[in-house]
């Protein structure tokens, strides 16, 4: 008898989530290989509804009977379940498995790591290079007592390159990275050339303008502005009243040029899947269209509480997903920000004087809910006369993401890039950000 059948014998409803992850990671430090690691991990979570009350338990490995007992025991002291487990229907298959990723051998990863370090240190001999590459597959299976089962194999391929410039009184850490599902969506050479471009820009440290100069967030740097939104559009934050977007559906809360879609169906999107961690089909959900708030994203619980429809955004491990140990909660799938016009070079030329923000320290450490940010610029550059003249140091930016994206958006770039494995955005040129420097 399987876990679900055992659970069904004791509970009116039950849902079993299983995730089997198999993969390889290689790490280079200081240009030299540090370790090669493989993993084969089975994680499980069981939710039950007993006498109308919700219970949860999770485990790694093979402990089946204790899992059932633990979930039922949890339900005994749980709260009424605001939802029922849905019928699991297999409509539409989203492409998430690339056989080419599984064919990548440890030797392939080792070669890319070595080449990356070599290419960077050839031009910049003093730079310390760390590289991490990983590839693998996770098999996710959701089954519940409606009789349905959804199962899917999803591949992942990631590379992260860190370059460290270390001199007394001037240490600079620069990194770029990408996680994708398809081999062809990640070019190790592209990542390396990005690093080299930034290293060239940053050879010289120059004073940063202060006050409220224009700020160009590169696609990766724009996370400063998106992070509060990722929390604010969560149906749970809205229901709880901690989101400033509560009660504002249909309101023009952002610049009219801004369109943001959460798309779980995008072929090979880093967070795409045919179904979410509760078995609900994913979809294409406009969050902001022409500056107007369109939808929030929901899991089963928050949808039931808010009287909304689940949107296929039930993610294990919460906001950033990826953990069998925690119950699902609303999380974004692939956040797609519609591009505008202008290459990065054109935006730089357009802003004439200002700063470029590529990476920050202290992300998410402030009052994110309110949209406030206050960050040390880890990797940033100074623009003068429409040209990058060098790197800035000891500089903090502060502002409010909601205000910036409503009233101070100058331009949206044309070139969208995948960043942080969660969104695809072009660069954003904005004003209204306070810059403090020494």
């Amino acid at each position: 008898m399987g876990i679900l059948e055992k659970a069904a014998a004791k509970a009116k409803e039950a849902e079993l989530y299983e995730e089997y992850r198999e993969g390889i990671t290689v790490s280079f430090k200081g240009g030299e290989l540090e370790k090669v690691k493989s993993e084969a991990v089975l994680g499980r979570a069981l939710r039950v509804i007993v006498d109308g009350k919700l219970g949860f338990a999770s485990t790694a490995g093979e402990e089946e009977d204790p899992l059932v007992e633990a979930a039922v025991a949890s339900a005994r002291h749980g709260d009424p379940a605001p939802f029922s487990f849905p019928e699991l229907k297999g409509e539409g298959e989203v492409k998430v498995l690339d056989p080419e990723v599984q064919e990548l051998s440890p030797d392939d990863l080792l070669a890319w790591g070595e080449e990356a370090a070599k290419a960077i240190t050839e031009e910049f001999p003093g730079i310390i290079v760390d590289v991490f590459l990983s590839r693998g597959e996770s098999c996710v299976r959701v089954a519940n007592t409606t009789g349905g089962v959804r199962e899917e194999r999803r591949s992942y391929f990631g590379m992260y390159v860190e370059a460290q410039h270390v001199k007394e009184g001037d240490i600079w850490l620069l990194w770029v990275g990408k996680t994708v599902r398809r081999r062809e969506d990640l070019s190790p050479e592209m990542l390396v050339s990005q690093v080299i471009r930034y290293l060239r820009w940053g050879e010289r440290v120059v004073p940063s303008p202060a006050g409220r100069p224009p700020v160009l967030f590169t696609p990766r740097g724009a996370v400063v502005l998106y992070l509060p939104l990722l929390v604010g559009f969560s149906g749970l934050s809205v229901y709880m009243g901690t989101s400033p977007l509560k009660g504002r559906l249909g309101e023009e809360a952002f610049d009219r040029r801004l369109t943001i879609v959460d798309d779980g169906t995008l072929p090979f999107g880093p967070r795409s899947g045919s179904f979410d961690d509760e078995g609900v089909p994913t979809g294409r959900l406009p969050l902001v269209e022409g500056g107007v708030i369109q939808h929030f994203y929901y899991d089963l619980r928050s949808a039931a509480l808010a009287g909304a429809e689940p949107t296929g955004n039930g993610m294990k491990g919460g906001f950033f997903g990826g953990g069998f140990r925690t119950p699902p909660s609303p999380g974004p799938r692939n956040i797609l920000v519609s591009p505008g016009e202008g290459t990065l070079e054109e935006l730089i030329a357009e802003m004439k004087e200002g700063i470029i923000v590529e990476g920050v320290l202290g992300l998410g450490q402030g009052n994110i809910q309110s949209g406030a940010f206050s960050n040390n610029v880890g990797t940033g550059f100074v623009v003068k006369g429409g040209k990058v003249i060098g790197r800035l140091k000891n500089t903090m930016i502060a502002g409010n993401a909601y205000e910036v994206l409503k009233d101070h958006l100058v331009a949206i770039g044309a070139e969208a890039e995948w960043c942080h494995g969660i969104y695809r955005s072009p660069a954003l040129l904005v004003e209204g950000v306070s810059v403090v420097s020494r």
Partner: protein, 457 residues
């Protein structure tokens, strides 16, 4: 398990091999406003093997214990594949093999406490927060406990079983007035029993009170200030900004950084002593041995303002001709040990709190920590809340205080150390190389620093 592991390791390939197998009993209760978001009491088990072959590491993680022999072979073959790419062969500093079994007795074992009681406790704190004021719109109360039973065996004859208890309580309040949202929290953690989280009503109320107060606090004006950090924030500062760069794995293949971190170099005023304390029973994450089976030690990172020590694993110690310090730690069975902190603190000085404030014309008294991040010399950390210092006196409340700077300059800019030392273990943990949250403690007295950059509008 012992005979099985010893037998398996006898057949292991390579210069060195180890198996770590963990069995974890854990519970969690999470309330968010009126919702019970998690209520769980579960068990899990998993393992990791590391093989050093031809001077390179191969590692394999698994959940099926029957796979241990197979995973050892796999790790050995990964190590051999890696070996061709390694220029400097990895060696391990010698340590005496240890056979030991460490059991922990806590006052009130949380494994014996019914889940229902844990729920009731968390619910009571949650209700206190929500009922404090009409302006409290949401809350988050999280109780966790875990008992990790860790078995470590290696080919040198070490066989250690350790029990590591951990119990945490996170109490957070969200207040709202018109469009403005503010949050405040209290966060506790210890290697203790259930008694540690009982009778914490005053902490719940403190979080609620502060969230409401923050609604009336002034946003800080960005600029350079003389700041007084409370014990918690000074502790976070020393952990984040300085502790991490004393982790030798980070320095190993980074020659320029190693030169900056030369032992004997002056880093701060004469009065500055920074300690990495190996084993303080009862404190979060503390156990007598690290995850390589090395006994944990107390070391001075800074003594009399001079850099005197770094934290090591066996590999970093061998590469630099130092002694292992017992700082190789893994956050769970899913990860290999890397060089990590445990109890990191600034030793107390002589000044009273009044003396710390004296002579500060216009400064900031920053308290508590939302978090901190560091990139080598650059650090940034957010105070949970703060007050103005005007003419040597504490003034009105401030919010959005994010401090940033260069750690080397900031250490040199420490002007005064208080005598009121506190060591703290929060409910969160430390993150490094994808391993988070690792239970640690940090501590300090009140510390006064000049010329700190504060971000703000």
């Amino acid at each position: 398990m012992k005979a099985f592991l010893k037998g398996v390791l006898k057949r292991a390939a390579g210069e060195y091999a180890e198996v770590r197998w963990e069995e974890v009993t854990r519970s969690r209760v999470v309330f968010q406003r009126d919702q019970l978001m998690a209520l769980e009491s579960s068990r899990e088990a998993g393992g990791i093997v590391r093989v050093l072959a031809d001077g390179a590491w191969g590692i394999a993680v698994f959940t099926d214990p029957e796979e241990i022999p197979k995973r050892l072979e796999e790790a050995a073959s990964l190590a051999r594949a890696a070996a061709g790419h390694v220029r400097n062969r990895i060696r391990l500093a010698p340590v005496e093999p240890v056979e030991d079994s460490v059991t922990v007795s806590v006052e009130e074992d949380f494994r014996e406490v019914p889940l229902e009681e844990k729920r009731k406790l968390a619910q009571r704190y949650n209700e206190l927060i929500l009922g404090y004021s009409k302006e409290i719109v949401s809350s988050s109360v999280r109780y966790t406990d875990s008992m990790r039973r860790v078995v470590l065996a290696n080919t040198e004859g070490t066989y250690i079983e350790q029990e590591i208890p951990d119990v945490t309580l996170h109490l957070a309040a969200v207040a709202r007035r018109n469009g403005d949202i503010q949050q405040a929290f209290e966060s506790l953690g210890e290697a203790a029993g259930y008694e540690f989280v009982k009778d914490r009503e005053e902490k719940a109320l403190a979080a609620a009170k502060r969230a409401v107060e923050l609604l009336s606090a002034k946003p800080v004006k960005g600029g350079r200030y003389t700041v007084v950090l409370d014990q918690e924030l000074a502790g976070v500062f020393i952990h984040e900004a300085f502790g991490h760069i004393c982790e030798a794995d980070f320095l190993l293949r980074n020659e320029p950084m190693r030169k900056l971190m030369q032992l004997g170099k002056r880093f701060g005023v004469e009065a500055l002593n920074v300690v990495e304390d190996g084993y303080i029973p009862g404190r979060r994450g503390n156990a007598p041995y690290d995850d390589e089976g090395v006994r944990r030690r107390k070391i001075y990172l800074i003594r009399g303002g001079i850099l005197t020590g770094l934290m090591h694993s066996r590999a970093t110690a061998a590469a630099t001709g130092m002694e292992p310090t017992g700082n190789a730690r893994a956050v769970s069975w899913e990860h290999e040990p890397i060089v990590r902190m445990r109890n990191t603190y600034i030793e107390p000085g002589e000044a009273t709190f009044e003396e710390l404030l004296k002579g500060i014309d216009h400064g900031i008294y920053a308290k508590g920590a939302f978090g901190g991040q560091t990139e080598f010399e650059q650090f940034t950390f957010s105070a949970a809340y703060a007050y103005e210092i005007v003419g040597g006196e504490i003034g009105g409340m401030l919010r959005d205080v994010v401090l940033t700077g260069n750690v080397f300059e900031t250490l040199r800019n420490i002007e005064l150390l208080g005598k009121d030392f506190e060591l703290k273990g929060g409910a969160g943990g430390c993150g490094k190389d994808g391993q988070s949250p690792l239970p640690v403690t940090f501590g300090a007295p009140h510390v006064r620093i000049r010329d700190v950059i504060v971000g703000g509008k």
